[in-house]
């Protein structure tokens, strides 16, 4: 298992570096400009309040978009970071697993004394290591830049928000693992379906406040249980976190079950 993880990490070294740099620059720019906006927060908030509730709900899970928590949630944690990390996680499923199956190199590995479970686990571990590595660096950048810009949000809350955001991305990527595990769809279709579920989840949750009929379906989707403003304020119900963990484990367990007894494709 270790050689598979080692090679996976080595192969993804440059793309991981560029993902880290890209996200870090985005975070740095957005957090550092906050100090210049802070003085005009009241006026800007007044302007933003004139936007329709539907539009506002697409930016954040809080109506107060220019308070330190509201700003950090709307600019980073509500949409952009989960979106970027979901893309990264799904991309990892594709490159580490689906592409290897399509190219035929997965057979090369399974011709060695390595069970399907251990191979899938090795690929999953590689993906987790890359995600958590990039996540840790991004969290560090957020902590440093928010401290510099004077957000005044406790470090532990930023750490918690990053952790839940990573879990959400992992949960979405576990849909991709499930699809490639069962091998029913090609790698592009798996990506498409996963992104579609993630976007639907985001839209349903964002709009449930204004379209009441969405409340029921939204409760079935993971985004509903991701509340970055609550996490940043320290009011998060950690039972939601446990629920997200359980859902992730169930999906990954199903992916393992599917992969164990299916034909390998080329």
């Amino acid at each position: 298992m270790r050689p598979v993880i080692r090679w996976g990490l080595w192969e993804r070294r440059w793309s991981s570096l560029f993902w880290t740099l890209g996200i870090s620059v985005y975070i740095a720019i957005n957090t550092l400009v906050y100090s210049s906006l802070k003085g005009q927060a009241k006026t800007l908030n007044h302007v933003l309040q004139k936007l329709s509730p539907t539009t506002r709900s697409l930016f954040s899970d809080t109506s107060d978009l220019l308070s330190p928590v509201g700003y950090l949630a709307s600019k980073l944690y509500y949409l952009i970071l989960p979106l970027l990390f979901t893309m990264l996680a799904v991309n990892l499923v594709n490159n580490l697993f689906a592409r290897e199956e399509q190219n035929g190199t997965l057979e090369l590995l399974l011709a060695r004394p390595l069970s399907r479970n251990r191979l899938l686990l090795a690929k999953l571990m590689t993906s987790l290591l890359v995600l958590s590595g990039i996540g840790a660096l991004v969290m560090l950048v957020t902590i440093v830049t928010t401290a510099h810009a004077g957000f005044g949000i406790p470090v532990i809350h930023i750490m918690a928000a990053t952790l839940v955001m990573l879990l959400l991305a992992l949960l979405f990527s576990s849909i991709a693992w499930l699809l490639v595990g069962f091998g029913r769809f090609g790698r592009h279709a798996s990506t498409g379906i996963t992104v579609l579920v993630a976007l639907a989840s985001y839209l349903f949750t964002s709009l449930e406040g204004t379209a009441h009929w969405l409340r029921g379906p939204a409760k079935l989707l993971p985004y509903h249980y991701y509340r970055p403003s609550d996490i940043l304020r320290g009011n998060y119900h950690w039972s939601y976190f446990i629920g997200l963990c359980v859902a992730t484990f169930v999906l990954l367990g199903l992916a393992f079950a599917g992969f164990r007894r299916r034909d390998l494709g080329r």
Partner: protein
């Protein structure tokens, strides 16, 4: 009394061990029983009721045209595909339930081998070695030398032949007891093909069972002890190379200086003669070639051309003769 009981105990253990050893040696290295594979709900079988045994120290050639089911059989044996029905064992272990144990003793070369394009040859072999440690690291070095493999360039820049060399080395380097090779000489130049034949011969000498697929009868003749012919997913014929050599027909196009001695040629036992023009004939002859060359030595000829044997035709011909029924 105690001493006698001890002696009896030791004898019983030795006899059991001997029995076990004999059993293991008798068990075919590869054993397929009515192994079938159907993709999804399609009615057509890609592999149907394959019954086949390959023994230790035997080289078995699995022949058939493209799309006949050779790769399906191999991929099912290696548990890359789940059998629809039937079963297979390798070294007495079930190919589905004990696949990981099997792979400790198997070397596999895929048809149209897929490697990691960005790795160098050396990185690739190290990776494979890390997943399955070698018994004798010197042996891998010897193989690299024997095949003159280029280990420093990225695989994506290598020619097909050079990639195939890496595939062969990774399949043989851990000295497996069973070798499963899908079109192993594809892309190799004649010199490397000869090196490969030597490698197979050496594996056979150390008792390995070799199961290889090919669509080239001439190549299989050089390496195999026994061959099976597969068509439309079914094994339609199986025979030893010695039998095939005896039964195989040769076809010659002969141009004579003067008129072709048709009447004499037609008298040759086991021959079919077709006149192409007044001086050229096509002779298909089975078995002993001496009478034909006896005639040719007495009649001046200007050209003699031997044709490649059509594998399927040869097999079907053989089987029509044997069963007197169309296959």
């Amino acid at each position: 009394m105690v001493r006698s009981l001890l002696i009896i105990g030791v004898w019983t253990l030795e006899i059991n061990h001997l029995r076990y050893t004999v059993e293991v040696k008798k068990t075919p290295a590869i054993n397929c029983q009515r192994l079938s594979k159907r993709y999804g709900q399609t009615p057509r079988y890609a592999l149907k009721d394959l019954d086949l045994q390959v023994h230790n120290g035997e080289v078995y050639g699995f022949l058939g045209p493209n799309g006949a089911g050779k790769s399906t059989a191999i991929r099912t044996l290696l548990n890359f595909l789940q059998p629809s029905s039937g079963s297979a064992t390798i070294l007495g272990l079930d190919s589905v339930r004990q696949s990981v144990e099997i792979k400790r003793s198997v070397g596999y070369l895929a048809g149209e081998i897929a490697l990691y394009p960005r790795m160098t040859g050396s990185q690739f072999l190290n990776y494979m070695q890390a997943l399955q440690p070698l018994q004798h690291p010197d042996y891998a070095a010897q193989l690299i030398k024997q095949f003159n493999a280029d280990l420093n360039k990225p695989i994506e820049t290598l020619s097909k032949g050079n990639r195939q060399k890496l595939g062969i080395i990774q399949a043989f380097m851990h000295e497996p007891t069973v070798l499963i090779l899908d079109e192993p000489t594809s892309g190799l130049d004649p010199l490397m093909q000869a090196a490969f034949y030597q490698l197979v011969e050496a594996a056979k000498r150390r008792g390995a069972a070799v199961f290889l697929s090919s669509h080239d009868l001439a190549e299989v003749r050089k390496m195999c002890d026994r061959i099976g012919f597969i068509r439309d997913g079914e094994l339609i014929a199986e025979q030893t190379i010695a039998d095939l050599q005896q039964s195989a027909a040769h076809r010659f196009d002969i141009t004579f200086q003067g008129p072709a001695p048709l009447a004499v040629l037609k008298l040759l036992p086991g021959s079919e003669v077709i006149s192409l023009n007044s001086r050229t004939v096509s002779v298909r002859i089975q078995g002993n070639l001496s009478p034909l060359f006896g005639i040719l030595s007495k009649t001046p000829i200007t050209a003699l051309e031997q044709h490649e044997i059509n594998l399927e035709e040869e097999f079907l011909h053989y089987y029509r003769d044997k069963t007197e029924a169309p296959v």
